[in-house]
């Protein structure tokens, strides 16, 4: 995982659930952020440790570097690779290519997610940009939607900030990711999480949804409560 806040949060959350479910963690690698440079030393350490599975969290350039090196060193196919969905999202999948095949990930959205809002969104996005949508596009879209909903609820009156904060928790709508609302406790989104696997669909690599894991509230920053 990259050595920064979101990396810690993600790994901590995963480790917490994983250990509670009976898993054993035999090692954690904190790699330089934002980019890890040459990934080879990390691959050699993974091969040396021979774990039953590897869980990783990367995004953008580091995601391509990691996933490609994982395949280059022959680890792909031998040790299953799990990840937070950002690591194999649509923005990096073309560069990863076949190296990403079989990677399983959990995320609150997938390009192929079958609901009317997502179909309309992904089609419109492709028409406008010429590229497939990715989770970051969805997050931007939903953020704008939350802002619009909030402005509607205060009838455009932005002078009273307290009022704006007050209406925020009640906002919910159908997002491309499915039903979207805020969790009262953590103030983070509460949403469906999907288990996805990278497969070839009509000659193109995509994240195919294997299972809808149901609605899960984002616990927020829990790095202080739990330690890896």
């Amino acid at each position: 995982m990259p050595d920064y806040a979101a990396g810690e949060n993600t790994i901590t959350s995963f480790a917490h659930s994983f250990v509670n479910a009976g898993g054993e963690i035999i090692g954690v690698q904190r790699t330089p952020f934002p980019n890890m440079g040459d990934p080879a030393p990390f691959m050699a350490e993974i091969a040396d440790a021979q774990p039953d599975l590897v869980y990783a969290f990367y995004s953008g350039g580091a995601a391509v570097t990691f996933v490609k090196a994982y395949a280059d060193f022959g680890l792909a196919g031998n040790i299953p690779l799990l990840s937070s969905g950002f690591m194999v999202e649509e923005d990096v999948l073309p560069a990863q290519g076949e190296a990403a095949l079989g990677v399983r990930s959990g995320l609150h959205w997938a390009l192929l997610l079958d609901n009317p809002v997502n179909k309309a969104f992904t089609a419109a996005y492709k028409e406008r940009t010429g590229r497939d949508a990715n989770v970051f596009a969805v997050q931007g879209y939903d953020t704008a939607r939350v802002i619009v909903e909030m402005l509607n609820r205060v009838e455009g009156d932005t002078s009273n900030v307290d009022k704006m904060v007050e209406v925020l928790p009640d906002i919910q709508f159908e997002s491309p990711r499915g039903p979207f609302r805020f969790d009262a406790k953590s103030q983070n989104p509460s949403q469906h999480i999907y288990l996805r696997e990278v497969r070839e669909v009509d000659g193109v690599l995509h994240n195919v949804i294997i299972e809808d894991l149901g609605e899960i509230a984002d616990p927020g920053d829990n790095s202080k409560d739990l330690q890896v």
Partner: protein, 288 residues
């Protein structure tokens, strides 16, 4: 122990990639007294030209040949039009401003042309795949990088030590004015060395693409590492670039293997220690 040997190999691979970069940077500094802060940009530009070649012509080998030639030619033009006006002992600030500005402009032009998404280049068919080595499947392409790096070091060494051109270049490093006084057109030598230096950076860009991929920002990441190598090894000498690359490549690899949280710290700690003990680097020229 087995993993130690593999990490040694990994360190060697990364060192050789760094050497390809550092040799050019060091050569340019030693010869022209110019610190080329756009060196990382020539790396990235070479990599992206390689990417286009691989996509259009489906040949990594052609990319390996053409990208350095194109970037070298660009280097000739840049030297002739701009850099030539900035030579001189007291014009380091002008040179730094120029090459840094060039790096910023290049970064935007590259992003404009190739986009901001991460791109990857597959290694050539011949070198894809792995060979089993103790606990890992070691990628053949990485072994190829070691071969290329060592070959390059030998070739550059022969060029500098055994040829007439090399003698002129070495003489230029020692005293450019004297070389000029002996009737050699030092400007041609400068232009040639600059073109060779940036062509090496482009070569490193193509070689590195299957390993480090290509993305905006890589230009400065690689530049900083290369600067560290050249400072550690000693500015202006091939031997310095080679051993500096080995030291920093190994520090990076073993840092990541044993103390991943301190990788960057370790690299700079090595640099600090070397500079404390030998202020002009391991093989630096005195007084530079």
């Amino acid at each position: 122990m087995e993993t130690f040997i593999i990490q040694l190999l990994n360190g060697l691979v990364f060192s050789m990639l760094l050497f390809t970069m550092a040799a050019g940077l060091s050569l340019i500094f030693g010869q022209m007294d110019v610190i080329n802060l756009a060196h990382g940009s020539f790396y990235l530009l070479g990599g992206y030209i390689g990417l286009t070649m691989v996509r259009r012509l489906d040949s990594f080998w052609l990319a390996l040949l053409v990208a350095p030639l194109m970037v070298g030619a660009l280097g000739l033009v840049l030297e002739y039009v701009f850099l030539r006006r900035l030579y001189g002992r007291h014009r380091h600030l002008d040179q730094v401003l120029f090459t840094f500005g060039l790096a910023l402009i290049a970064a935007d032009l590259i992003r404009w042309n190739w986009g901001a998404y991460v791109e990857s280049v597959p290694p050539p068919e011949l070198l894809s795949g792995q060979i089993p080595l103790f606990t890992v499947q070691f990628p053949v392409y990485r072994l190829f990088l070691i071969v290329v790096g060592v070959t390059l070091a030998v070739l550059l060494g022969l060029l500098l030590e055994r040829t007439r051109i090399g003698a002129i270049i070495r003489a230029g490093v020692a005293d450019a004015h004297m070389v000029s006084a002996l009737g050699i057109d030092i400007h041609k030598v400068f232009a040639g060395v600059f073109a060779l230096g940036v062509a090496l950076a482009a070569l490193a860009g193509v070689l590195g693409a299957p390993v480090l991929n290509l993305y905006p920002g890589l230009d400065f990441e690689i530049l900083i590492l290369t600067l560290v190598v050249v400072v550690v090894g000693g500015l202006g000498t091939l031997r310095g670039a080679f051993f500096g690359s080995l030291l920093i490549g190994m520090a990076d690899t073993f840092g990541k293997a044993f103390l991943p949280e301190f990788t960057l710290f370790l690299i700079f700690a090595v640099m600090a220690v070397v500079l404390l003990l030998r202020p002009s680097g391991l093989f630096g020229l005195e007084g530079v």
